[in-house]
Symmetry: C2
Subunit: 346 residues, 2 copies
């Protein structure tokens, strides 16, 4: 029975041809969508066997990357992100752009199923030959999702996409991560929902290059205008997200395709201004170097916290510290010793 | 000549008696100011020889710590921090409190001379027997200064100080660090100086449990009232610094001793409310555990970045990454290999 099943499977679903590094690179550069998708799967893979190939492919694609504008889009569920991205993406394609939409959902590994990047959410856009929509990679920690999305951005750029939209949910740390990956960061808001209701976390407004109040249609137009004025006052208290650029609030109705062109005009003005001042290129370079250091930090900490000896010692030591019977410095010394002994034993 | 000098020095400045762990502990618990100062010097020492004694002393003092309220005070130079702390500290002493003032200046190691904690700045307070003023520890990195100040806080608490004021300059990262060490965080501001002028960095307002507009005297009263109203509007856009506590703005003239008692009343209300809700104790416990993890992170990163092999490889690798010829993941792999080989060679 088992062998029969295996034989059937082999017949009906033949194993996909193994691609070489050259196959991947050529396919991506030619804009082959099937190979593009497979390259992203390779880059997203957690398997150690794929790592070397993925790194070689990325290395060869690198000279062909960097020519897009990378735009981060965030906002809590219900703000109309899918509708906005659909309207915005279709507008860009009409203007002759190639648009990649990458979803980043650091929570998807917990819920076992990403709510983002679901193609059925963006029906019109997903049918466009010049659009490419990719759901969130899974893979546990925020750092892992971040690494994969950053590399996927590079792959899409090499495949000729000149606008990359990185979509994330407005719930916590993921915004800071996306901010560190993009040129322009757009915060979607609703009028009259109250900051608490919108789940605006500490500092998220300070990351935004534009605040877009969506659903400014029907009875909601007046409240949206009022919210716009309020946010324009609020940004006065915040440091600029991008040096030399004044963040402003805008209204928009993605549903009626109203105000979407204006947002793109703002982003184009942003690109022109920051390119002229050198801020655009400097941020890109700094982002690359920062990224190296953040992966290093992540890996050093992962090595430490995944050590069995550390995991065994930690709960008791944390409790002693919280209860005030063990000084913090002694706790650190004990944990670092556990870690070193663990490594030497191996 | 050299030996003569040494002999003279020995005569005029005899070496201080070496203290045992018990001497330190007893002295601190009895509130002996000389021993208190020497214990802090021991805790602040960068010498490896002192580390073990310091840790043993801290361990024995721990059960006697935690009974103070820890208050962080920040504001840019010129805001009147010294005058405020002098007026505030004297008010507390009149109320029967014992007040320790610890300065935290992460820049002092660069400028080779702390601008904070200079006793001549607080002449009245420094003459009070129930006040203890300590300048900023030096010792390079922010993490080091932070560790020392945190331990000094514990030592002062064991010596019976029931209010610990941690003073820092309003320039960057030090506020976040001080916030992680205190129960209540107070931001001193000036009216009409403009946010830029006051050097308010990203997110500092979001750390504050109270915003105090100082120098509300003479012609400055009306602008101070206006600033108060403005800041009260601004905090509406910020997440609360402390769960369940509404941050508000207040005016004060430290020079005229006007409004100082009100600030203390606010802090007492804060303590009552957060103690009743459990937020006070939970934050303290979380701060202790977070502290352990932040020292671990600091030490792991220090080990890595102080490795000679890493230091040699880093500039070239960073340049290749910034220039887009080396993928970040490959850069990380090369650097981590350098680090491991370096450790094995030792």
């Amino acid at each position: 029975m088992g062998t029969d099943e295996a034989a059937t499977r082999q017949k009906t679903a033949p194993r996909r041809r193994q691609l070489s590094v050259d196959d991947y690179v050529q396919g991506v550069l030619e804009g082959d969508r099937v190979i593009l998708a497979r390259t992203i799967t390779l880059v997203e893979s957690n398997s150690a066997a794929h790592l070397e190939t993925a790194q070689e492919v990325l290395k060869q694609l690198l000279p062909h990357t960097g020519k897009s504008i990378r735009i981060g889009i965030t906002g809590v569920p219900g703000v109309g992100k899918s509708t906005f991205i659909e309207a915005f993406g279709c507008h860009l394609i009409e203007q002759g752009h190639k648009v990649a939409v990458l979803a980043i959902d650091p929570t998807s590994s917990r819920t076992k199923g990403s709510i983002l990047g679901d193609k059925t959410r963006m029906e019109l856009l997903s049918r466009e030959p010049n659009a490419f929509i990719r759901p969130s990679p899974t893979g546990g920690v925020l750092g892992g999702v971040s690494r994969k999305s950053k590399e996927t951005t590079l792959v899409c750029e090499a495949a000729g996409f000149d606008v990359v939209l990185l979509e994330t949910v407005g719930v916590g740390q993921s915004e800071t991560m996306v901010r560190s990956m993009v040129d322009f960061f757009l915060l979607l808001m609703l009028a009259g929902a109250g900051d608490e209701l919108q789940g605006i976390k500490k500092g998220i407004m300070e990351l935004a290059d534009a605040i877009v109040i969506n659903k400014a249609d029907g009875d909601n137009i007046a409240p949206a205008q009022q919210a716009k004025a309020e946010y324009n006052r609020a940004v006065h208290y915040l440091a600029p997200a991008t040096q030399g650029w004044q963040t402003k609030a805008y209204t928009c109705s993605a549903l009626n395709n109203d105000g979407v062109a204006k947002i793109w005009a703002v982003i184009e003005a942003f690109r022109q201004q920051t390119t002229a001042s050198g801020v655009f290129e400097n941020r890109r370079r700094a982002q690359m170097v920062d990224w190296v250091h953040s992966i290093i930090k992540e890996q050093l900490l992962t090595q430490f916290y995944s050590s069995l000896a550390v995991q065994q010692a930690l709960p008791g030591i944390e409790a002693d510290v919280a209860n005030g019977v063990l000084p913090a410095t002694s706790a650190v010394k004990a944990l670092l010793n556990s870690f070193e002994n663990d490594k030497e034993d191996k």
